[in-house]
Amino acid sequence: MSREDYEVVIGLEVHAELSTKTKIFCSCPTEFGGEPNTHCCPICMAMPGTLPVLNEKVVEYAVKAGLATNCEISRDSKNDRKNYFYPDLPKAYQISQFDKPLCENGYIEIEDKNEQKKKIRLTRIHIEEDAGKLNHDDFGGGSLVDLNRAGVPLIEIVSEPDISSSDEAEKYLRKLKSILEYIEVSDCKMQEGSFRADVNVSIRKKGEKKLGTRTEMKNMNSFRSIVRGIEYEIDRQIDVIESGGKIEQETLRWDDVSGKTFSMRDKEDAQDYRYFPEPDLVAIRLTEEYIANVKSSLPELPESRKQRYLDKYKLTEREAKLITASKYLSNLFEETVLKTNNPKAACNWILSDISRILNEKEIEPNEIPFTSDNLAELIKLIEKGTISSAIAKKVIEELFENPKEPSKIIEEKGWIQISDEGAIKEIVLKILETNPQSVQDYKGGKDKAIGFLVGQAMKQTKGKANPQMLNKLFIEEINKM
């Protein structure tokens, strides 16, 4: 049997760090980085006798996330303790939520491979605290605990197993990420681990009702690895079944370098987390008024922005969709339009060169190092004829490497367009002299020959000559001949 005979079932658990200023149970900063163990206090270091106090912003952010993903918000929720021992977990329990999460029964809409709308249901969104980090000690050979991250607030977003391909998984994650960015509850920086996913994959023969045994890949933090991991896991599971084996329910580690998953044997002796209600915290009771207030504070969501781009900026459906997929791209677009009044150009630059470079560099839009000011200036420089689009492409590349004003870049690099008619005429005559064949061709009716000649001229001037002028002068000069 082949891959077509199997159906893939994927469920995702996403952990997103909330961008509150302070931690979930104490007033330490949540800021990423910092010298180890400097964003800590007796509470997040679990000194004896300390008690947690729930940060109200965390509840607000989680409720926002719930409302933006069509969840029901629980009026009566609580915290629970999840008990296990690990050096990065100072209390030996994580304060999380077990049977009464803040948000339940939501959904997110994506497009399946036939571009049909598909709802991915969300089981729940709950709040919990992040653990610290273990660093390998290069000097002593042991491990060192850094508790800066301990107590940073997280929401865990659990999907139903409604996802049926790696492509849908990626779309779901991108959509979710974009929503969280739009409502400004998480900065979703995947490299920093503030948006990471546990991926559950199982397969079953088509038509089979019963779900297959699933495996779980934990803490995946790039779209590329997630897609590759899922693909690998599907193939591996099919191989196991086809060769008469059985899938073990286990936690796997995805290794990006080898492109394989590995069993994490040690953690597998069936953890019993002994959940019970957190006695140090009171129940979370939300009033209708509170929920209504949070709802009214939600910013414009991608769907509505998209519509606005169609109506006001006359973007195509595809363009509007691509730009609004990321809040950062969308903001860059809107700001640039505001400064240039040229939505078409802004859209083109963002969707062509900028998106291509993001892909090549494998970075996220929020990591774009330059500002809308820079992009706006670049567009104006083209409009004014100071640079050609060819040069502009080079400027964009440069903006990613060494962000500064485009006018400075072209000045430093000597990329200012040659628009002086005398100078261009000189180049044109020189090119015509060395390319008599093209002159013949053009005269013989081959209009394309002009393109070749302009190309030659651009090559000689390293792209600096004004292409419209070249075009005009070539035609004029040949006609004189």
Partner: protein
Amino acid sequence: MEIYELTVHELLEKLDKKEITKKEILTSFQNRIKEKEKDVQAFITITDKQAEEQLEEIEKENITTRLAGLPIGIKDNICTKGVKTTCASRMLENFISPYDATVMEKINDEKMVSLGKLNMDEFAMGGSTEHSYFKKTKNPWNLNKVPGGSSGGSAAAVAAGLVPWALGSDTGGSVRQPASFCGVVGLKPTYGLISRYGLVAFASSLDQIGTLTKDVEDAAILLNVIAGHDEKDTTSATREKIDYTKVLNKGVKGLRIGIPKEYFGDGINKEVKEAINKVIKQYQDMGAIVEECSLDVADYALATYYIIACAEASSNLGRFDGIRYGYRTKEFSNLKELYKNSRSEGFGEEVKRRIILGTYVLSSGYYDAYYKKAQQVRTLVKNEFEKNFKKYDVILSPTAPNVAFDLASKIDNPLEMYLADVCTVPVNIAGLPAISIPCGVNSEGMPIGFQLIGNHFEEATILNVAHAYEQERKFRQNYKPEFKK
């Protein structure tokens, strides 16, 4: 009377009249510690020298707040910045808290001076203070007897005059039972009246800091200092501040007292019953209305208590893992061994017993049968008290089924030890306030205590009722600990 025999309000009167100085008070307790601590063994850490320096500072700065310079003793599970907080455990033998508990901040704001940290059962688990890693505290009335527990060091120190008063903690009777055993007053306030921030957690939903004092008025004074909402403890209540010293002379005429019949069953010692009957008679003579009542789920309270307390303890004590602070084994070759050996070697038998029990009742497959069921019974216990408080202002019972027992007599029989909590535990389950007041001695000369239980946040009521009795039956003036050997 010697200075160390006086109550704090008596000391304050003498200070007001300039009959004594603060320095004389401190010196009197220092000398008493020198004389008696070797017999009683109430302290884990003595800080009388620091207290002396603090007093000098206070006098130099001419600080005149009412309680400034007065000594106090602190149970060793309350975090004190700069002074070891051991919880009487090998696990925290050298642990110094980086911060002060909220109650310590309040004590420090008053400029009171601590004479030291008092012995207890390890992590407050036990009823005899024999489960301390460091030493066995003796009962000042008879040095062959236990002082009770877990706040045994606090109760013994107050009874022996080593400190004028002390802070303890009460999870299932740990303030009231040792108070009863040592012939002092022990107050366990309503859950939520005192901040738990800085009290090393045993069972978070039951723990409450309480006071051990020579009489009821002192309990009121100390309660004034430590009560109040704390934003660091979200389970602490926001309530209007009451001056508890102003509620003590209201009398008991017409007051309704319920006597739960279940508290006078076979498990209760005959002499204790007799003493309590005399208390009842006394209240009737003073004009109170006394009636028998029923608390029939009380039978299940003890089992419920041990399930909930152990479950929470098993989680609360997880942080003592040898990673960041506290005891770490020398014998380990991997992480699992580091955990296992540190905890095996760092905790005593009773603590390990409760961690294992608590882990068991929370584990999957057993949770519903034990922990969930216990929480349901807890609700029933609360309801039953609520029903009774519709009819009665206070409920009166023995504090403990018997007087202080011989050292080592129950150490190998945990169940028998747990039964000593039978009268006090329901109060913690329901989160109510209760006070133990001495009411006589048995034929061996060991103190007997009775317990008054009030409705939520009715500290004023139980203090007043206790005070009324105390005014009539002057236990302290009639009996003194004899340090019998």
